[in-house]
Subunit: 278 residues, 2 copies
């Protein structure tokens, strides 16, 4: 058995990459009609450049059953054609009791994800169903990439360690819940200070970092602040910036170019920090 | 146009009922194999006794595409056969930007729900996509029915109004977000003090109250503390206690008996309080 965090690291080593491609189908921007065919072309064009793919369930669900079918087929195709890649379902699910168990079953058994993003509002009860198998992982939505995340996540809360922002308290809880080495966090690249704070609280846990590219997060600071002290265990995700780099027939080729440029810039930053790949 | 909260009240008036039946298919407990047929029998047997149905998406998703198809067909069947009933999708979704918009589209356009439960961890940004149409409603997951809800929801936070539990702060935010009269809250029946606190903060907003029945919440206190000052705008939900009242062929008949008993006890409590139906 390989623990999830080790699995993730192996995926990065195999491709010398911290890049994750978000697969967010948007009919108004896709140059081909078929969601699965679109994803397949993106995966074929990028599979040697990335450690992970991140299909966002919201976009598939909005397309109804055919969309969800395309999501399941996409996950299966990635497992088949890029077996080293970690497939992260961006589902942001979370519920308690039998409902929570059902979401975990759906995530791992129905859709076939290796990991999912989880919303921990329900506390450990809502996280536990997802982490019983150490080979499968979660990324708890800790600090969002949007301004409105501050509404709840930045509130100052009383803890035994004093008064701290709620997202930092959650990060500390995630560290406690991480007994099977399969818990990570989601922190947006758009808030470097928060990213640094979470990395300090969770020095050896994976962090999924959305928000570079279309949302404007700075890639260099995501690398410097988001990786662990060996320059690993960050999953830096771009969706629209890669998959919609072109709206023409060269979309897959352009996606490859964008993913390659992102990987190169990340690896240059790692090298400058003395943490490049061996 | 009828605002969601008015729509909900009309559904209660039409059936003189605050009862909501949770439709949570569990293959190990259902006496018939087909999820849609099971739900149809439950709906046929209870439609004159309840103001709302609440399919929980987790259970359908765990059954894959056929499960989700059964969910969509169930919602359509309720609209057709019990047009007064409000159909609440217990989806606990929440995300930001285009993802949040996609979940709202899925909830209302794909699945056809009248309202959904929402997880507001992402702040107003994650709530806004669901509340642009005043005819469609949300119930923000405020205080859960599980002990672990305390992990996050009961943390004491600093606010301009002083130090209060996080779930109370969220209730106050929901009150501010309720400009279109279509925002409600979810508060578990298992924590009467919290239910009372939320009702005080949001005197005229709908509250969805799960946790009576199988989870042990007290029905009488749910009525006394959860309704508004007219004895209305509470949606008291039981799932397993109703739909699995019998595992035999009489399941629909027994579900009807349980729903009728629950409705009667609620209405007796309302009458004692001087708030019975006209």
């Amino acid at each position: 058995m390989v623990q999830f965090s080790t699995r993730l690291e192996q995926a990065s080593e195999a491709t010398q990459s911290l890049v994750c491609v978000g697969l967010d189908p948007d009919a108004s921007r896709m140059p081909v009609d078929d969601v699965f065919e679109f994803n397949r072309a993106i995966v074929d064009a990028t599979k040697d450049l990335v450690c992970a793919y991140k299909p966002n369930a919201a976009f598939y669900e909005a397309l109804g059953l055919p969309g969800l079918d395309a999501m399941a087929r996409t996950v299966a195709y990635i497992h088949e054609t890029a077996p080293q890649a970690v497939v992260i379902g961006d589902v942001k699910r979370g519920d308690i009791g039998p409902s929570g168990q059902s979401y975990a079953k759906a995530s791992f058994e129905v859709w076939g994800f290796d990991a999912v993003t989880v919303n921990a509002w329900g506390g450990l009860d809502s996280v536990e169903p997802f982490i019983s198998d150490g080979e499968l992982g979660i990324f708890v939505w800790c600090r969002g990439s949007n301004p409105g995340s501050a509404d709840i996540q930045d509130l100052m809360v009383d803890t035994p360690q004093g008064k701290i922002p709620l997202y930092q308290h959650l990060a500390g809880s995630c560290r406690e819940w991480n007994t099977a080495q399969n818990v990570g966090l989601v922190v947006g690249a758009t808030y470097p200070d928060q990213l640094e704070a979470v990395r300090n609280i969770c020095p050896d846990m994976p962090i999924l970092i959305p928000g570079v590219g279309a949302q404007g997060g700075d890639l260099e600071s995501a690398v410097r602040l988001g990786t662990d002290n060996r320059g690993r265990l960050a999953v830096i995700s771009s969706s629209r910036g890669i998959i919609y780099a072109s709206s023409g027939r060269d979309f897959a080729e352009r996606a490859r170019a964008e993913a390659a440029a992102m990987r190169l810039k990340i690896n240059e930053t790692l090298t400058i920090e003395g943490l490049g790949w061996p």
